[in-house]
Amino acid sequence: MNCHRVEALVSPYADGEVGVLLRHSIERHLRSCAACAAKHRDLLALRARLRAEATYFKAPPELRTRVLALLADARAPTPARPGPQPDRWRWLVGGALAGCAATVLAWVVGSAVVDWRANQGLAAEAVAIHTRAVLSDRLIEVASSDQHTVKPWLSARLDYSPPVRDMTNEGFALIGGRLDTLDKQLVATLVYRHRQHTIDVFVRPESTNAPSTLRVVRGFTVARASGFGMDWLAVSDVSPDVLTAFVERLARADASQ
């Protein structure tokens, strides 16, 4: 494969959107060509910056309220065409019905939102730690693909011993570990590499029965699972289904060596 061809493909390659054969040829070329490798690095840096820094605009609260009102209108039964003279009662009943509908709706949406919110803060914090680590040179404090090196390093610095497993066989290579502060608590972070993606997995003793949940924050996926008495929180820019499968695999007790 020549530089011209690689140049045309480096953008879809950085997105993980080229087929496996093409990917291998590109990888081989990038290993031998410094100029193309630099282009690839620049592209990854740009992608990381866009994901971490470009503004993600949230719907303003007033807009949300207006949309909910729209919905409440749809919920209230359309009143029959009023007769020639204005009918005060119809309006009153209509208003009351709309009010009831709004209350019911608020409750339905509210209960969904409470669960969503509960984890949103944690997810946002995890994503912030992840992007900071990837952008800085503090991604790894103990660099090793050997679980028997990473585990003792972490255990020596924490009051618990997180299970550490290399998953290279399944396409997730353990590349090291570090310590982070998440949710005001010192936690073990395992760093894995999947294709060109970096995955951070925060492991801490299970405090509550954390449900297996998934969030997308600023384009990053946060997937959570429990197992081995630990709470596992994985953050990465890989696709949500891949990350969920991975974290659930990590946390599954029957998978222990």
Binding site: A8, S11, P12, D15, E17, D42, L43, L46, R47, R49, L50, R51, E53, A54, T55, Y56, F57, K58, A59, P60, L63, R64, R66, V67, L70, L71, A74, R75, L105, V108, V109, A112, W116, V216, R218, G219, F220, T221, D237, S239
Partner: protein, 184 residues
């Protein structure tokens, strides 16, 4: 399930995604809110036809269509060509704070500004890819173009960004400021 219950369950969770797209396409909060509200009304009307899987891509498709209709009504393309020059950015070098933290946020602002100045066809694929994390296939579906076109537009969008004078101007500023800081 009635239409409004379906809407609450399937579309409401993607309100932020819809607003983010509308905001990046329209490039101002006012128009973005109009577009999103309009899109919600359409979504409520057609939510019955949404089958199974991806409510987010479905809703984003509606938001995008609504934006283009709105744009046709309000800004005939021959009058306001979207050549990406319409942003109202002013770079005032004296406003750059020598603190690293401030530099970083100014830098982020310029990055967002550079994205906002991309021509519409490139801007939309970039937002869908980097901020909404859609795959090429999903983007092709939302925008209604072949996957090959998604690929070339994204590559072009990134090329334009990397060459954007906004990013380069800033790098030069920063190099200068860093130099001054280290020499003082």
């Amino acid at each position: 399930m009635s239409e409004d219950t379906r809407f609450a369950a399937l579309v409401l969770p993607h309100l932020d995604a819809g607003y983010n797209l509308a905001r990046w396409l329209a490039r101002n909060p006012h128009d973005a809110e109009d577009v999103l509200q309009d899109a919600c009304m359409r979504a409520l009307k057609y939510v019955g036809s949404l089958r199974g899987s991806d409510a987010r891509a479905w809703f984003l498709t509606i938001v995008r269509h609504t934006f283009y209709d709105w744009r046709k009504r309000n800004h005939p393309p021959e009058m306001v060509p979207d050549d990406g020059a319409a942003g109202d950015l002013t770079v005032d070098p004296s406003a750059i704070d020598p603190e690293q933290a401030a530099l970083r946020s100014a830098e982020s602002r310029l990055l967002s500004e550079a994205v906002a100045q991309l021509p519409l066809v490139f801007r939309e694929v970039l937002i869908l890819r980097e901020l909404e994390d859609l795959s090429y296939k999903e983007i092709a579906h939302v925008v209604g173009i072949p996957i090959g076109t998604v690929m070339s537009r994204l590559a072009r969008a990134r090329g334009l960004l990397q060459r954007s004078p906004l990013l380069h101007a800033f790098c030069a500023e920063r190099a200068e400021v860093n130099h001054e800081l280290s020499s003082s």
